[in-house]
Symmetry: C2
Subunit: 201 residues, 2 copies
Amino acid sequence: MTATPRRAGRRPGTSQTRQLILDTARRHFAELGYDRTTLRGIATAAEVDVALVSHFFSGKQRLFAEAAALPYDPAVVLSRLLAGPREEIGRRLADQVLDLIEAPASRGRLIALIRAAASEEGAAQLIRERINRELLVPLAAGLGSPDAPLRAALTGSQVVGLVMARHIVGIDPLPGTGREQLAAAVAPTLQRYLTGPLDDV
Amino acid sequence: MTATPRRAGRRPGTSQTRQLILDTARRHFAELGYDRTTLRGIATAAEVDVALVSHFFSGKQRLFAEAAALPYDPAVVLSRLLAGPREEIGRRLADQVLDLIEAPASRGRLIALIRAAASEEGAAQLIRERINRELLVPLAAGLGSPDAPLRAALTGSQVVGLVMARHIVGIDPLPGTGREQLAAAVAPTLQRYLTGPLDDV
DNA sequence: TACCCAATTCAATGGGTGTTGAATTCTTGC
DNA sequence: GCAAGAATTCAACACCCATTGAATTGGGTA
């Protein structure tokens, strides 16, 4: 059962190889994190030569940058958030987060992002800026209160913590806890961070 | 300015080298994560030969296991938590977490733990079990309610999220936010996860 | 003082990594 | 139907890594 070595040269038909590599890379980054993901591993899984990966994406860093693009359109998320009644914004956010994390398409990318942010300083910086620019700043602007940046950041902390605990570390019983129950439990926290009082009572 | 190469053989005086290496390793693991930390890097920083590191700790994994021991005594934390009035348990937990993350001694170890949990599956498993056994299970037992495991896990998610956001990713303005303000903001969340209603209202 | 063992360095080994240049095969525009 | 360029592989490079065995020096003890 030796895999037939493929001859050099372009393959017949129209090529979707670039996309295939990108998808494979996303899976690997999500499962292994940046460091443990190797170009060779991606290439093997995509049944392609290593050099092709570097050829298409000009190196590992660029490949990661492309693979780890936000798995959603921040503008859409934000407009949905700010649209409805302000007293239910926490619940709406919880729902959107759970949607994203449960849809297989976005799930991997989200996890890859968080993993990378935790392990690689360079990636952390890139991600911090992206999140700030595309999510937190507009969100804070939408809230309009003077302590809005702090509110946005606190909100982010709970969102990140939830994804970490449920999907990366896997703290029982979170991975098996139903969507509805989770949304209900977390929504009031987000609501208070976004609109409630921030001082202890 | 060439560093004088040291001759082989034991150095004079009583040796604290093992401890020195361990401290250096902690710093490196905390700053770089597991993968990007190299024995060579540790050795160089500790002004010691690489082989000595492996000699003392029998390899990178074991070194990490020793460096990443919990930076506090879970029993103490738990007893302090469960001791006072139940209505202020959220605030007490927030204070203890902030104490740990601000004390230089424990800070690095906490960060290393979280980084490793996010990036290395093996470490994640080890850490998950430790946290479960030493923190969450006793905490749930102390709470005594039927949904206690879920409550403990939610609490953990906010704690982890806070440390991530404030110290690892560095989401503004959290890193510069004062201890008191932060404790006040987060305490009600922890309080509700631990003792409040978990269903949306 | 001798002896044993711990601490320390040196040197070598084997493996894995990302990247690069050249060669081959195909598609596409003229 | 020809030429240019894109897709693909092969092979090699230079680098870094953890681990191991042997050699050297010092401390502690009998």
